[in-house]
C-alpha cells in the first residue's frame, strides 16, 4: 500500500532523537563543540526530514509558518534582550558578568541565553527557507507539459 513504509517508520524513530541531539548540542555548547548555530541547524533538519517524509502540508501543520516567522524575530529579541537586561543591571551592553552574583556564573547564564536566541533564529530561518522553496508553485504544472 504505502511505498515508503520503511522510511516512515525509521523517520518516526529518528526525528525525536535528532531533536534531542539538537538540544544536547545547544546546552553542551559551552563545554564542548557546539552552540546555538549548530543546534539550530540540527533542529531545523528534524523538521525538514519530517516534511520530506510526510509531506509539506503535514510539516506545516506540525510547525505552522506563522510560528516560524515569530521565531525568527524572537531569536534576535532574545539575544538583544539579554543585552538590555545587562543594561538595566547597570553594566555595558552584553556584559554577562552582572547576571549573577558570581561573574563567572553570570557569563555562563549570559552565554546560554544568547545561544538560545541564536537557536530560535537559526532553526526558524532554516525552516522558513525550506518552506519558501517548498511551497513555490511551478509556473506550469507537470501535466500541462
Amino acid at each position: 500500500m504505502n511505498p515508503h513504509v520503511i522510511l516512515r517508520v525509521v523517520a518516526k524513530f529518528l526525528i525525536p532523537l535528532i531533536v534531542m541531539f539538537a538540544f544536547y548540542v545547544q546546552f553542551h555548547g559551552d563545554y564542548g563543540p557546539g552552540g546555538g548555530f549548530q543546534a539550530g541547524v540540527i533542529l531545523a533538519a528534524a523538521v525538514i526530514l519530517y516534511a520530506l517524509i510526510f509531506g509539506l502540508d503535514a510539516a506545516k501543520k506540525a510547525v505552522p509558518p506563522a510560528i516560524v516567522r515569530i521565531g525568527m524575530s524572537l531569536g534576535v529579541l532574545f539575544y538583544g534582550g539579554t543585552g538590555v537586561v545587562t543594561w538595566l543591571l547597570g553594566a555595558n551592553y552584553l556584559e554577562y558578568g552582572v547576571l549573577a552574583s558570581d561573574p563567572a556564573d553570570g557569563q555562563h547564564y549570559g552565554i546560554l541565553a544568547v545561544e538560545l536566541g541564536v537557536l530560535f533564529s537559526v532553526a526558524s530561518v532554516m525552516v522558513a527557507i525550506f518552506y519558501a522553496f517548498g511551497s513555490r508553485q511551478p509556473d506550469l504544472s507537470d501535466e500541462d507539459w
Binding site: R69, M72, S73, V76, L77, G80, V84, A91, Y93, L94
Partner: protein, 516 residues
Amino acid sequence: MDLLSFFPEWVLTHGAALLVVLPLLLGAALAVVPSENAAWAISLIVAILCSLIAFALCVQTFGGESLTYAMGGWDPPHGIAYVIDSLSAPVLFLISLMAVLCLLYALPSVRAEVEPKKRAPFYAAFLTCLAGLLGMVTTGDAFNVFVFLEVSSISTYVLVGMGASRDRRALNASFNYLILGSIGATFFVVGLGFLYMETGTLNMADMARILRDLDGGSRVAQVAFAFIIIGLGLKLAMFPLHVWLPGAYAHSPSFVTAFLASTATKAALYLLLRFTFTVYDFEFNYVNSSVMFLLVGFGIAGMVFASLQAIFQTDARRTLAFSSVAQVGYMLLGIGLGTAAGAAAGYLHLINHAVIKGALFICLGAMWYRFGITRIADFRGLSKTMPWTMGAFTISALSLIGVPFTAGFVSKYKLAAAVAGEGWWWAVGVIVVSSILAIIYMGNILKEAYFREPPIVNGEVVARNEAPLMMLIPMWALALASISIGLNSDVIVATANNAAELLFPLADALPGGIFQ
C-alpha cells in the same frame, strides 16, 4: 556644552551601542507587527531617537576627543570596541537624520508603491538597514564592520526588490545588486583575512599601530589593502564598479532610492577614509601610490564619463543615479589628493551631496506619486502643475551643479581650492568640465519643466496637483538646508576640518572659512 545637559547621563555613556541596538531590536520586533501605521510610527520614533543620540555624540566629539565603548565589558583590543570620533559622529548624524526625513516622506509613498501585505515587513527591513549602516560607522572592530556591512546590504536587497509591485524590473535590479554586493563584501572580508594574518588583531586602532610598527607590513598587508579597496569600491560605486547602482536607484521604491542615495554609499565612503588613512597610513608607499593613481584616476573618470552617461538617459531617476556616480568621483578626487584639505573637501562633499540627492530623489518620488512619471519627456509643465515640488527640485538641482550660495558650491569650491593648492590645475579643469556636464543633464530636466506647457489629457490641460504635505516637508527641509549651508557654511566646514584633522594629525592648522 549646554546642549549635552538635555541628554540623560546614561544615554551619553551608552550612546554608541544604543544607536545600533535600538533600530536592530525594533526592526526584529516590527517583522511581526501586522499594522502598517504602527510599524511606520515605531520606525519614525526610532529614527528620531537615533538622530538625537547621534547629535549628542557629535557635540561630544566636536572638540576632537574620541569615545570608546567596550561591548560586553571586554576591553579592546581583545573585545569589540565601538569608537566614536569627529570623523564618524557627523556621518552617524547624517544617516539618522536622513532616515527621519525619508520616513516622513515614506507614509504616503510606501502606501502608493508597496503591496499592502508587505508594508509592515518593509519598515522592518528599513530599520535593519539603518542598524547596519549605523553599525558600520560606529564600530572600531574590522570584522564587525563586515558583519554590519552585510546586515545593511542584505536588507537593502530586500528593500530594492520591494519595488517589484510598481516595476517588475526591481527584481532584476535587486538581483544584480545582490551579486555585485556579495562580490564586494567577499573582497572586503578576504582583505580583512589577510590583514588579520599580518597583524593578528581585528581592532582597527591596534591594526594601525602594528602596521606602523612594521612600517607598512609585508606583501600580505599590500594584498589586503587591494582587496579592501576593491570591496569598498564596489559598495560605494567607484566608477568602473558602479554598474549595480543605476538599476537599483531607478527601480526600487522611491523612498528607498532617496534613503540609499543619501546614506549607503556615504557609509562605504566613510569606511574608505577610515581604512586608507587610519588603519593604513598614507605614508606607506603602496597606499600612497594606489590612492594617488587609482582613487584619483577612477574619480576623474567617473566625474567625466558618468556625467556624460547621465546626459543621455531618458529616465530622470537614471540621470540622477549616474550623477551620483559622478559625485562619488568628486569625493574620491578629494580623498585621493592625500592632503588634509583634500580629505576635508571630500568629506564636505559627502555631507552636501547626501542633502542634495536626498532632496532630488524625494522630489522625483513625489512627481511619480502624483502623475506616475519618471521619464524626462513627461516633465513638461511641471513648474505649473507642481510648483512647490519643482521649486525644491530646482534649488537642489542648482546646488548639484554648484551655483554660488548653495551647498554644492561650498564643497566644489573647497575641492577646487584643495587640488589647486597641490598645483593640480588640470584637476580644477576637470571639476569645471564635470560641472558643465551637470548643467546639461539637470538643464534637460529643468527645461522641460519650465519652458513647456503642461500636457493636454482628454482635451483638458492637466490641472495643478501639488504633492501632499508629508512629502513637501522633507523635500523643503533639505532644499533649505542646501541654501543655508551655501550662505553660512562655518559649522559644517569646521566639522569637515575636524574630521580631516583626525586623519592627518600632523597637518598644519587648516584655514577656517571657505574664502581664506
